[in-house]
Amino acid sequence: MAEVKQGAADSGSVDLFGFLARFAPLIFLVVLMAVFAVLEPRFMSSINLFNVMRQVSITGLLAIGMTFVILTAGIDLSVGSLLAFAGLVAAAVAKGGMQDRFTVGEGGVGYGWELAALAAIAVGIAGGLVQGFSITRLKVPPFVVTLGGMSVFRGAALLFAAGGPISGFEHDFTWWGQGKIGPVPVPVIIFLVCGLLAHIVLRYTRYGRQIYAVGGNPEAARLSGLNVTAIICSVYVIMGFFAGLGSFVLAARLNSAEAVAGTGYELTVIASVVIGGTSLFGGVGTIFGTIIGSILIGVLLNGLVLMNVSSYIQQIIIGVIIVLAVAFDTFAKSRRRKV
């Protein structure tokens, strides 16, 4: 009986800690916004806030995919490169080839935004599938595979576009990046809808459960009859899907796709996921956390820009934050171990 009481007491204190750990990103976000609101009145204007959200939505989409990957204790460093490559393919499809790469509508040989979007997503999924296959079948660690992928996809993008941009799309293409529904930018809606769907998948489906199980203890998952290989491969495909979707929205927003797009995104995206409370050790994390983490980074960068902080210093701050977030995660994990 003493044992039961102790268990209950432990779970009580763990719940408090767990509560703080879970809502720490949200609390941090609110505090940060309050600080910026005081220091810089322009920050709280609705134009600026929607602007922040629009910027967040691209890396946010990638962060949703990255959450799946990191939940299995994996990592994907190739997201930025894959996004650039997929964006160029989408742009080329929209323009009907590589002629007229800077003109709008002339010649009328281009295909609609639908095909362009499909092409971007197909490229993303194919890239993810190849990487997932290499990780599960060739048994190369995710870090190495996607580090290689980072270089391969960037090279493919440069090769494909001969180094230059492809720009000038039809209005119904750019609407996906620049349009609004009411006051809300379209990319923000895409981001939040995808977030909701991903949340449902992770929280309420068998597949979602299996991702947490594989991330929590792959050997136990295997001995429980889960197809660990297929599940691990699938998360890289999902990541690829979001890289493709993100590339389409980004090209639409900028009215241009270029081979250097998405450079450095992997850091921002991984930081968003980790700050949102997803453990790099796998098995712990939520989409809710990732969305908060993405907004947090967006707000931080926006606030710093408004306050004229140099972009060099911004990079330093992001780097420090990602290390601190992982240190916190490690601490939380050792605490979980102890009890």
Binding site: E3, V4, G7, A8, D10, S11, V14, Y204, T205, R206, Y207, R209, Q210, Y212, A213, G216, N217, E219, A220, A221, R222, L223, S224, G225, L226, N227, G283, V284, K333, R336, R337, V339
Partner: protein
């Protein structure tokens, strides 16, 4: 030997506790100069802890260690090596991609710092390896050596440290018969050169063949010591198992068993080059009937766990057939096994079964998600909670709530969660590997009763245990294994600890092979 000389090594009153268990309780061990001393005991008797203390890897809570008549403290492995006490572990500690010479002198490379004198290193290595009969170029990579040769490199390393006591933990478990004879020759030569050997083994014939004296531990205490010439193998076995059967462990009324649920024929899994230390299983045949509990007894490394894992598809096997309900089945993965109604409760629940940071609810339902699904893809959480509640009651799992992290539960309740996971699948055959390891006596009795309950409901249960009293109390029929072979079978009514221990330690199969 002069009468006045104290023994080389004298340990007295060694006591060591871990949370919840006293591993050693006032143990003494005396090793003379030029002696081969056997340290014996069942699994969990305290041998490993004693060895770790001697190696300086753990310090005793109490007790005195005299070396050469002088009191010493073995604060760390370096201190032990300085005194000349060197341990050769069962799992070698060699770096496979380095040469013999580098391995022998690792961390003590000859030469003027920071440079290494390769010529001197090779030279001295060759002298050492010659001494023990290893004819190999010192620059050969350890990876290219056989297991027996790697062991010789370990011995050469021990000699290079001017050791006076060499501790060998299960040195023969990975060797062929010819290699064992060669090892014995080396050991005898070392003894003649003035080195003492502490020899830990499960093979009692080897004790009779090569050792001078013995010390037997049981449940962390000394139960016997003396000269090997004054005792028989039977006598040693009696010392090793002499503990009284715990009265708490009850038998069950063995029911009339049903038809054969699972049969395994000539299951074989050999070592591979990648994993030369893996435990082999050879030609293992066994069967279990519905409503029956089959016990598998054997010492560590006998191949019990490997057999279970091979049947369950957790590890690949080289040859053999598996029949479920008389029909041959192909099992390549745990998924296949589960599809055929076979479940496995693995030996290490924390590493192999539980998702420690996740809720009890998801831990129980993880393998049965298709039974609580909605539209094929969603999890019906209401049904899931019902499932958890059902098994909480059935197994009497003491928990704060279904959302509690399973890592916060006691060992016994964690094990019940794993059992619940498998019962939720309604298996035909359930293999439980060390079902009560690391859980307290009360929970043990509960787990035993659950096994009885499962058998009564018609499940064919295979129970693997290192504790003979447990096997004797739980099983209707017992199969013993040794070195990857089945060495015998007894009905419970005919079985005693002494008989089982003899079958587990004396099987002559490998020597005959």
């Amino acid at each position: 030997m002069t009468v006045a000389a104290p023994p080389l090594l004298q340990m007295t009153g060694i006591t060591k506790s871990f949370p919840g268990v006293k591993a050693l309780d006032g143990v003494q061990l005396e090793v003379d100069r030029q002696e081969i001393h056997a340290l014996l005991g069942e699994n969990g008797a305290g041998k490993s802890t004693l060895l770790k203390i001697l190696a300086g890897a753990q310090s005793p809570d109490q007790g005195e260690i005299l070396f050469d008549g002088k009191p010493v403290t073995l604060a760390n492995p370096h201190a032990a090596q300085q005194l000349g006490i060197v341990t050769i572990y069962q799992e070698f500690t060699l770096a496979p991609d380095m040469s013999i010479a580098e391995n022998v002198f690792i961390g003590r490379e000859p030469g003027r710092w920071p440079f290494v004198s390769w010529a001197r290193m090779a030279d001295e290595t060759e002298k050492l390896t010659r001494r023990i009969g290893l004819e190999r170029n010192p620059m050969t990579l350890v990876r290219d050596l056989s297991v027996a040769e790697q062991q010789m490199v370990e011995i050469a390393r021990a000699l290079s440290m001017d050791s006076r006591v060499i501790i060998m933990d299960e040195p023969t478990s990975a060797l062929s018969l010819a290699e064992v004879e060669k090892l014995f020759k080396i050991v005898r030569r070392l003894k003649d050169e003035g080195i003492s050997i502490i020899f830990v083994t499960h093979r009692l014939e080897e004790v009779m063949e090569v050792c001078d004296r013995y010390t037997v531990l049981r449940d962390g205490r000394n139960v016997g010591a003396g000269s090997v010439s004054d005792i028989t193998i039977d006598g040693i076995i009696r010392l090793m198992v002499g503990r009284e059967v715990n009265a708490l462990f009850a038998h069950r009324e063995a029911a009339e068993p049903g038809p054969v649920a699972l049969e395994v024929k000539r299951l074989t899994r050999l070592r591979t080059a990648q994993d030369p230390h893996a435990t082999e299983i050879r030609d293992v045949s066994l069967h279990v009937r519905r409503g029956e509990i089959l016990g598998i007894a054997g010492l560590v490394g006998a191949g019990r766990t490997e057999t279970a894992r091979a049947i369950f598809g957790a590890d690949p096997f080289d040859s053999g057939e598996v029949f479920v309900d008389g029909t041959p089945v192909t099992i390549r993965t745990p998924r296949d096994a589960i599809a055929h109604g076979i479940g496995l409760v693995p030996e290490d629940r924390k590493l192999q079964a539980l998702f420690l940071s996740q809720a009890i609810r998801t831990n129980i339902s993880v393998a049965a998600l298709d039974r609580i699904g909605r539209f094929g893809i969603f999890v019906d959480e209401a049904k899931e909670r019902g499932l958890v509640e059902e098994y909480r009651k059935l197994l009497n799992i003491r928990m704060a709530g279904a959302e509690q992290a399973v890592g916060n539960l006691s060992g016994g309740n964690q094990q019940k969660v794993v059992l619940a996971r498998w019962l939720a699948l309604r298996p035909k055959v359930l293999i439980v590997d060390e079902p009560t390891r690391g859980i307290d006596v009360g929970a043990k009795v509960e787990v035993h009763n659950l096994l009885f309950e499962m058998a009564r409901s018609g499940i064919a249960v295979i129970a693997i245990s290192s504790e003979l009293p447990e096997v004797l109390s739980v099983a209707d029929r017992i199969v013993t294994m040794r070195e990857g072979h089945v060495t015998g079978e007894l009905m419970r009514a005919d079985a005693t600890q002494e008989k089982l221990m003899a079958m587990m330690t004396l099987g002559t199969t490998s020597r005959a092979a």
